[in-house]
């Protein structure tokens, strides 16, 4: 039986109530929309990439606590990182939520993001946590079509 406290931890709730980098960046071409049609989470992720680094990242939209907290913590975590580091972090986060439990978690690289480990016990909510990351990935690759979790 899963404990709700594993999912709705203090840190996650804090980011839900006070999301960081919750704003639009108008002057950038690196943005993408994402949505989770299952429950109505809708996000837009904005990026400014300067000399191979993420100099600014933000998001806009509305959604469930998990999707908003995940987007917020993602923007905090990725700001200042190089593109290569961003891509590696994406893989690590994805592995954390969807991968094999026996594989050790790289908590040093993930930092605060390990707080989402609990989402694994609530499989229906995994898509909420990964939405922002998939959308960020799309923004990075300048994809035209909005990202969907389907």
């Amino acid at each position: 039986m899963s404990d709700l406290r594993d999912l709705y931890q203090e840190l996650i709730l804090d980011h839900t109530k006070k999301p960081r980098n919750f704003r639009r960046i108008e002057r950038t071409g690196s943005k993408a929309d994402g949505h989770n049609p299952l429950c109505g989470d809708k996000l837009t992720v904005f990026l400014i990439v300067d000399q191979g680094r993420v100099s600014d990242i933000s998001f806009d939209g509305s959604g469930c606590a998990i999707s908003m907290a995940s987007a917020s913590m993602m923007t905090e975590n990725l700001k200042g990182k190089s593109i290569a580091e961003v891509k590696a972090q994406f893989e690590r986060f994805h592995e954390l939520l969807t991968g094999n439990s026996s594989v050790p978690v790289d908590s040093e690289s993930l930092g605060k993001l390990v707080v989402f480990t609990g989402v694994k016990e609530f499989p229906v909510r995994v898509k909420c946590a990964t939405l922002a990351w998939h959308t960020m990935n799309a923004a990075l690759e300048h994809q035209e079509e909005p990202v969907s979790t389907e």
Binding site: S2, L7, C39, G40, G63, R125, C128
Partner: protein, 424 residues
């Protein structure tokens, strides 16, 4: 140790003509309700999505496969005769259940969605041309929107939509005005799955018929909760799904007036829907078989028959009375929770309670309630236009059936308190 049986008590009605609705006894017929979820008794409040099945339905399907099963309509052997008889008996049963004029007006399909697609294809394609119109309402489920969009796209027709009030009721004046000389069909829900609104269908059919426009009614959410009389409603098509009516998945019903069905082209081609086949010419079978190509969901139909027997044995009027009281209690109890906003405040409602809770996303409400053993639905309920109308992405929806109880409503209220605690 507490079991789910300990949480429920029968709701007693004082009058002689309406003997006590022994919900406790009825719950015993539903094996799935006896389990625990996350250590708590299951409280199943997702009936608008699908209903649970009584033992009698499960047994009927098992019995078919153990004793009588064979393909229908074509065999000369005993088992085929038994299966065919049982299958066609259900057709007659459904005719009586919705009070259709003839049993050949009952067509078995996969569900409400397939029924509507059938009408869009077989009726719509012939009748809708460039510039013609189909009228639906803002309340509709996607199954009663998308087939018409596809039809209008294919035929260069135009989809018109009747607006709804803030209370979630169709604005009848606008509805009437939107029926023009180009309108070829009106399609509307009997009961809204997102809000619970009961549409004044008889009145709306009358309005459409005054302008010589036929009407299709989506009865998916009505049939489990109300006695339906298609002749009284005078609708031209009526459809519903077996799995919402305590029957199995994979089976549903399209009712159509005989004359209309006879004028329509087939939907799917194949075996059984033909009278004779040559490579030069194929002659189609008469109704209803013209619309039943291939081997149907025989077990599904048998299960649906058993579900109708079960519901008839309790009585839909008694079910409706009990549910009205339960929904009234639920609306009062949930509305009293600070921060709750109920969507869908029509004068007449059935089964559904759609609500919001402060800033908490319905998906989070659903997860926390799940931990309390409570199953609700969170999302747009396949009715995105309804969500857009009220400016929300999603709602939390509790939907009741006759096996739910007041104690379960109380538990839902307690669960919502828990949600507030997590988020504050």
């Amino acid at each position: 140790m507490k079991t789910s049986a300990d949480r429920v008590a029968p709701i007693k009605s004082p009058s002689k003509s309406n003997p006590a609705f022994d919900v406790l006894e009825f719950r015993k017929d539903f094996p799935i309700l006896q389990q625990k979820i996350c250590g708590k008794p299951l409280i199943y409040l997702d009936n608008a999505a699908s209903s649970q099945k009584p033992r009698q339905v499960i047994d009927a399907i098992t019995h078919l496969y153990y004793e009588d099963y064979s393909n229908i309509h074509r065999g000369v052997h005993t088992l085929s005769e038994r299966s065919t008889r049982a299958y066609e008996e259900v057709r007659r049963k459904i005719q009586q259940f919705i009070h259709a004029g003839e049993d050949r007006e009952i067509i078995f399909v996969r569900g409400t969605t397939e029924a509507i697609n059938l009408v869009a294809h077989s009726f719509g394609q012939r009748v809708v041309g460039e510039g013609d119109e189909i009228l639906i309402t803002t309340l509709e489920h996607h199954s009663n929107i998308v087939p018409w969009q596809l039809l209008c796209e294919a035929q260069k027709g135009c989809l018109r939509v009747a607006p709804i009030s803030d209370a979630g009721e169709v604005e009848l004046e606008s509805f009437e005005k939107l029926i023009t000389s180009r309108t070829k069909l009106v399609a509307l829900a009997h009961v809204s799955n997102a809000l619970g609104t009961i549409n004044p269908v008889a009145q709306m059919v009358e309005i459409a018929h005054r302008k010589n426009v036929p009407v299709l009614v989506d009865g998916a959410q009505a049939v489990p909760h109300r006695q339906v009389d298609v002749q009284k409603l005078d609708c031209d098509f009526y459809c519903f799904s077996g799995h919402k009516l305590f029957g199995p998945t994979g089976v549903g019903v399209l009712y159509g007036k005989a004359k209309l069905l006879e004028s329509m082209v087939p939907y799917q081609g194949g075996g059984d829907m033909i009278a004779s086949v040559t490579f030069e010419k194929t002659i189609y079978n008469k109704i209803p078989f013209k619309f039943e190509a291939g081997t149907p969901d025989i077990a599904g139909v048998i299960g649906l028959g058993a579900a109708i027997d079960y519901v008839n044995q309790i009585g839909l009027d008694r079910i409706a009375a009990y549910e009205d009281e339960l929904l009234g209690y639920a609306r009062q109890k949930i509305a009293a929770i600070p921060g709750v906003r109920i969507l869908g405040n029509a004068r007449e409602n059935a089964s559904v309670l759609s609500f919001l809770l402060d800033d908490v996303h319905p998906h989070d409400i659903g997860t926390i309630l799940d931990q309390e053993g409570i199953a609700i639905r969170a999302g747009h309920h396949c009715a995105q236009p309804v969500m857009d109308r009220f400016g929300v992405a999603a709602t939390a929806r509790a939907s009741f059936a006759f096996y739910n109880t007041k104690e379960e409503v109380d538990a839902l209220a307690d669960g919502l308190q828990k949600v507030m605690e997590v988020f504050n």
